[in-house]
């Protein structure tokens, strides 16, 4: 049968949802303990929210699901949420004015051309509005670490870059405003060639650029190998570099593992400071960064802010399904639907088991295939056969209290 599901969209089946909820619950627990509070934004936003802030690169904007809705006579386009952070910034601006720690679980829409990849992706995100560098940056990095640890994701690699540093470097090249924007666009789209083509009039600076972009490693090595030219660089470049070093130093003190990788900036124009990308088994499972100018671009006073998101879809694939409650203690209750006494007995037994906290599925048609620990067949008012599927043991009993006793329900 031809699938009637929209191209690029995905169904989540019970096993997927089990993992999804596990991720969500773990995420909620972690964030709540760090003092973050949950928010939710609408699926539909005005396109102008994402262009007005100059925050998504043209290539990302061209993948946004934008259209005219029923209200679109004025030519105002709407989009299916193409990014998680910008709507949160809008929500914050419209409702609050003091520092706020938010978390959210949301879907993001992007048109992937082939239709083979997901066009709707879920993420668990965290935003710290009003959180200044470097303390807030470190808080988020530690939170991300703790979260992935709680989820049981192994081999997590944290790659760090610095958007402020990258932007200040591009500025040093002395390009025209449009060429500068184009260069930044290429860098943000992950075009490595852009860095290689970058040349300034300052030989020392070019050397610095090459060593910086190619460096991969820890702070101690970084300080030895990457040297800022003694003169001729802007205070902006210097202050961004020292901010980067401050954060790394703190991470070293806290024994947090990371790798410096300046080229690891991707897709978001709104980042102004530290940028993080999280990998496990070669797959990207999260990312984020500092975006101190986003709120002022949206028309508010300037405000420091940072955030990150864990990508649910790749993480789901990395989790193995834990033994669930059904196979541990669940009960499948079978009976003949034609015998009214049996039906009655089944419903009443089910109710008492459920109120004792058990999962109970009723099966009058004899068609259920779920793997419950217990199967109880009710053939008469006073005739119950109990099978423990785990041990293979079997009992035949005559009263409800006996059933309850064997199932170990208090």
């Amino acid at each position: 049968m031809e699938s009637q599901r929209c191209k690029g969209m995905r169904d989540l089946l019970p096993d997927d949802m089990g993992k999804f909820r596990y991720i969500e619950d773990t995420f909620r627990n972690c964030c709540t303990k760090w003092g973050y509070r949950e928010v939710r934004t609408p699926s539909l936003e005005y396109l102008r929210l994402f262009t007005a802030t100059g925050t998504l690169t043209p290539s990302r904007l061209s993948k946004a699901y934008s259209f005219l809705d029923w209200d679109g006579w004025s030519g105002e386009r709407v989009v299916l949420r193409p990014d998680g952070t910008i709507p949160i910034a809008r929500l914050y601006l419209e409702n609050l004015s003091f520092p706020a720690r938010f978390f959210y679980v949301t879907d993001i829409f992007a048109f992937e051309q082939t239709g083979k990849e997901n066009r709707e992706r879920w993420q668990c995100g965290v935003e710290f509005l009003g959180g200044a560098s470097p303390m807030a940056d470190v808080e988020l990095l530690l939170l991300a670490h703790e979260l992935l640890h709680s989820l049981g994701i192994s081999g997590v690699q944290l790659r760090l870059s610095h958007a402020g540093l990258a932007k200040a470097l591009v500025k040093e090249l002395g390009l025209s405003p449009r060429d500068e924007a184009r260069m930044l666009g290429r860098i943000l789209d992950g075009d490595w060639q852009a860095w290689k083509e970058a040349k300034s009039n300052n030989l020392e600076l070019d050397k610095f650029l090459v060593s910086l972009v190619n460096f991969k490693g820890k702070l101690s090595d970084f300080l030895k190998k990457v040297k800022l030219p003694a003169e001729g660089t802007s205070p902006e470049l210097e202050s961004n570099l020292s901010n980067f070093i401050d954060i790394l130093r703190l991470l070293d003190d806290l024994k947090c593992d990371y790798q410096i990788d300046i080229a690891a900036i991707h897709g978001f124009e709104y980042y102004t400071g530290i940028c993080l990308q999280l990998f496990s088994r070669g797959e990207k499972i999260g990312g984020g960064g500092r975006y101190d100018e986003l709120l002022s671009l949206m028309g508010s006073k300037s405000m420091p802010a940072c955030g990150f998101a864990i990508y649910v879809d790749p993480v789901i694939k990395m989790l193995s399904l834990k033994e669930d409650e059904r196979s541990e203690s669940g009960v499948l209750l079978r009976g003949d639907e034609k015998k009214s006494r049996v039906v009655e007995a089944c419903f009443s037994l089910a109710q008492s088991l459920r109120s004792a906290g058990r999962i109970v599925e009723l099966d009058f048609a004899g068609e259920s295939v779920a793997d419950y620990r217990w199967v109880v067949s009710v053939s008469g008012e006073e005739s119950f056969v109990i099978i423990d599927q785990k041990s293979g043991e079997k009992w035949e009993v005559r009263t409800l209290p006996q059933v309850v006793g064997i199932l170990g329900v208090d």
Partner: protein
């Protein structure tokens, strides 16, 4: 007849590219009799080779027709191909090569009247820019490419050059060259792409059919150059020395139709005593002058009027009820209202099928779909929103709506199964061997207005005056 798999169907353009395309086909021995500017026929048969047939379309229709697989090959301007691909990137259409003709470019341009002289000037300003274009998707790509912060796009059926400066800041439009734009009072900011003639193929046909017999003949004419969207900045020029008539800003703005609706509208306005110069007769002035000093009149396409009135570019307009309905179905919250039924220009909006189709009602059509005798109902219509609503209301499923830009009747039976179109006498329908299976509604010319303008204390008196004047002319 050659077997179906060898049969090759071509979609050929009307208009701008027709003479050169006809020459090209003649030159490579694939000429079609009747493919000329005077032609009244749409379907063309080739004498040699006999496995070849062609149909004439508006250029705009060709990429859509080829991508849905109705035609194996097509020739049209790169502009229309990119307009499709920029939004529907996964369209099953392949650009094979540009041809060495098809002049002009798609430009983004502003009015010479504007204080802005180049792209940096534009981006340096805060504004909610209005962009008017026959190419709404290219227009959006342009806006996003230059990182325009806030913009609105007004799609129009034609004459985009007539909108700036008063009804839009920017137009994205075709022009032969920069001089031509200049003559129209427009200053180019960016060249989006060359509007070259291009050969396209349906991806499915390329994969499953042997097109070599036709493509080999084209080979010497292909210039094998790849053109696509390039967003090339046009360097600003100094000292434009033309004199441009600056349209005076008037208190009340009225839009009048061109095309078929123009003669009866001119006659009606004459009868009610609104004296316009150059709205009737040989030379149509897009800014006819009028003997009421507070009234500004502009001629635009009737299809574009509801949207233009909704956005306050005009307070009043004379259009057809069909276009008002199509607009309101799409945008139920639009602030456009019908003020007067003017009674003339009566047409019926009908649903029609080919005489050969075993259906005489929409219920029959629904049954055909349900029984699997038709896989999908392909519906050709200029009225996309009226059509959509009608098909939903009749529980037709599945259907595909093919938007057309005139001459929709020629789509049946091979490229569409159902037609939703207007009909005056039924002559065209009969000529095309079509039968009417339903009448959706009747449409006449009407005066429409913007709700806010009508209630504005500033304009109320003048608008009431116009309404009273027109009411006097109703028979």
């Amino acid at each position: 007849m050659a077997n179906q798999s060898n049969y090759i169907k071509l979609a050929l353009p009307k208009g701008r590219l027709l003479p050169d395309t006809a020459n090209l086909l003649d030159g490579v021995g694939l000429g079609f009799e009747g493919y000329s500017e005077q032609t009244r026929q749409y379907r063309l048969k080739s004498a040699k080779p006999p496995y070849l047939s062609a149909k004439i379309f508006w250029e705009k229709d060709i990429p859509i027709q080829v991508s849905i697989g109705n035609y194996d090959l097509g020739i049209c301007g790169l502009d229309w191909i990119e307009e499709l691909l920029v939004r529907y990137k996964a369209s099953a259409v392949v650009k094979l090569s540009t041809l060495n003709y098809g002049e002009g470019y798609i430009y983004a341009a502003i009015s010479y009247e504007s204080e802005i002289k180049n792209l940096d000037g534009l981006l340096g300003r805060q504004g909610n820019w209005r962009i008017v274009s026959e190419y709404p998707d290219l227009a959006e790509a342009f806006a996003l490419n230059i990182r325009m912060r806030r913009f609105r796009i007004f799609p129009v059926w034609g004459d985009a050059e007539g909108y700036p400066p008063e009804n839009a800041e920017i137009a994205v439009l075709w022009a032969r060259n920069e001089e031509e734009l200049e003559r129209k009072g427009l200053l180019p900011l960016m060249k989006l792409l060359p509007a070259r003639a291009t050969v396209i193929a349906s991806r499915e046909s390329l994969d499953n059919k042997d097109l070599a017999s036709v493509l080999n003949r084209f080979a010497p004419m292909l210039d094998n150059r790849e053109f696509s969207l390039s967003f090339e900045e046009v360097s600003s020029k100094e000292g434009f020395v033309g004199s441009l008539p600056r349209p005076e800003l008037k208190k009340v703005k009225l839009a009048l139709p061109d095309g078929h609706q123009q003669p009866p509208t001119a006659k009606f306005l004459e009868r009610v005593g609104l004296n316009l110069s150059h709205y009737s007769g040989e030379v149509l002035d897009y800014h006819p002058s009028v003997d009421l000093d507070w009234l500004g009149v502009k001629v635009i396409r009737p299809q574009d009027m509801p949207l233009q009135v909704a956005n306050g570019n005009f307070d009043l307009a004379i259009t057809g009820k069909d276009w008002l309905l199509d607009h309101v179905y799409r945008f139920p919250s639009s602030p456009v209202v019908e003020l007067l039924d003017l009674g003339f220009g009566k047409v019926k909006i009908v649903a029609a099928v080919s005489q050969e189709m075993p259906a005489s009602t929409m219920e029959d059509v629904r049954q055909l779909l349900q029984k699997g005798k038709l896989p999908t109902l392909r519906v050709a219509s200029e009225y996309v929103n009226i059509g959509d609503k009608y098909l939903c209301d009749h529980h037709i499923s599945p259907y595909k709506l093919i938007p057309t830009w005139g001459a929709s009747e020629a789509f049946l039976p091979e490229d569409a199964d159902l037609l939703i179109d207007n009909m005056q006498t039924g002559k065209t329908m009969a000529e095309h061997n079509l039968k009417i299976i339903d009448v959706l509604c009747e449409s006449t010319a009407c005066l429409i207005g913007n709700k806010e303008s009508i209630n504005s204390p500033d304009k109320k008196e003048e608008i009431d005056f116009i309404i009273q004047m027109m009411r006097g002319g109703l028979s």
